[in-house]
Amino acid sequence: MSTADGYAASRDTQEGRVYTVTGGDWDDLLASDPISEERMVVNLGPQHPSTHGVLRLVVEIEGETVTNTRLVIGYLHTGIEKNAEFRNWTQGTTFVTRADYLAPLFSETAYCLGVEKLLGITAPRRAQVIRTMLMEVNRVSSHWVALATGGMELGALTGMTNGFRARERCLDVLELVTGLRMNHAFVRPGGLAQDLPEEAPAAIATWCDEMEKEVAGLDRLLTGQPIWIRRLKDVGYLDTAGCLALGVTGPLLRATGLPWDLRKTEPYGVYDEIDFDVVTHPDCDSWARYLVRLDEMRESVRIVRQCLDLLEPGPVMVDDPKIGWPAQLSLGSDGMGNSLEHVRKIMGQSMEALIHHFKLVTEGFRVPVGQVYTAVESPRGELGCHVVSDGGTRPFRVHLREPSFINLQSAPVLCEGGLIADLIAAVASIDPVMGGVDR
């Protein structure tokens, strides 16, 4: 309403009178010009803490009831898929890791599994175990953000502070192992960028204990909380048939009681050797999704503990000098690092190693013609990677089937007919990450 703070005043348009309300001035608006109609079109976002990133919601409301919801996305589009076509296959992993920034290791793994399938190679066992373990650490950290931001949006601020505190511990582990807190580019076609540092297994074991405490703490804080229960129960209902029609996977689908989890149905990595349960809940609402995420974190810690036991010494990159990037580099503060020992070897002792190093870094390797689709179970559902090669040193096409993008389509179904306050709870329960949605 006011123009003093830099916002436009109300104005007349063909569609009717448009008001600008910036918060705290509803009384002014209603006093000066009572809205005659109950039907209003309200814009939420793109910059709004309750829209989970730069998501814009255009909501038609009648009184407090949402009658129509449209989502506007693309504010975070960075052309990751196009960019990847102009860098070599190994560099592709640095692009896809930036798509879903809360679960970067999943995009990397899906992409690398695709490239490996095209090449006809399999990463060594130690690399598979470490991938599996780090993905589960990453799943926990991603679920912490889902619960923390979801709590924040509903006013449970202690849930937020506790969640981010716990996530910080997850990022510490990932930083110790990969050198970076996010955008790791740690999983590479053929294996991993480096081996685990010596102190990592002990640090991860400590992390497991801490996470069990943190999860139990959040459980105690929120699960029995009457306000939390009433904000989530029966909000954002979507059943199995709705999920399948809309392509919704992940915790949303498991919260309808269907135990569909690619870790069980199409095991990759070492999931087929690990004992864990697929968490489901029959209620189909935001409350069920909260419980599924909470219990999935416990299962993830269980998986990480078993992966620690499966760790055996061995290489972390395929033994093929034409494909395997040097993986024995030390770790620098920028996550890249250099190894005096490796440099001494290639410069002083092995001309072949020097040639391979030079060719791999400047030219990269060639991948035989063809296309594959590989999928992993990311914290948000089926994360697929459609990789096409024309036989060159660069990807011909990389498409990420991002679960955030697909799941977000269900937002109108979850919200319409409910109250506008429940819209926030429903969108939060989808847990969309805009980096993944817009890519």
Binding site: G74, F86, G247, Q371, D390, R394, R397, F405, I406
Partner: protein, 239 residues
Amino acid sequence: MTDHTPPGAGGDQRPADPALPGPDDAGTGPVRHGMFGVSGSGDTSGFGGLVRPTWTVPAAERPYGGYFDEVVDALAEGYPDFAVAVRKVEVDRGELTLHLAREHLVGLCATLRDDPALRFELCSSVSGVDYLGTPERLHSVYHLTSMTYRRRIRLEVAVPVGDPHVPSVTGVYPTADWQEREAYDMFGIVYDGHPGLTRILMPDDWDGFPQRKDYPLGGIPVEFKGATIPPPDERRAYR
């Protein structure tokens, strides 16, 4: 990696040199010249004279291996026009691809979803691919998942750039809504019958389709010197 595919399903049916064109069609990839992406300059390496022919994955022959025979048989039984609808069956790296005639796409999808022997309930992914240099260069690729049988197949529809129309599968798989909008946004594939085919990731008033292979990329002007850093597709690079 995924252990639901028995060994021998694909892979072994590839020719010795996959870069050579198959016997049955004109190929799906462009003919490529040179190695460093430069022409007319002082490329004395000789690599500039290299010519790589178009490439294609050859049609698979029976038995396809694994569950692929069952799927194709059930589809042929459930969809009467199967012989004209499916132009080519490909089995490569343990994945089944059916190349379809576009007018049969929706009917085939409905059969794939509803036939009790097929039950592809989930449309996992819809994406576009631009095979520049071939007559039908725009491909719309669908990845379907059967949760009942734990199977995956790929459907592919190719259209020429002058007539980029593909029927929308949103009636069968509502999840294709945003994915078809994305493929339209990036490749200009027009999905007929889509409820609201508008741009989704790019701004509404954007010109052109950015993920087409002939979409021009931007260079970066260098301050003071009057030079520019050429766009990535014009730089000297290994191809």
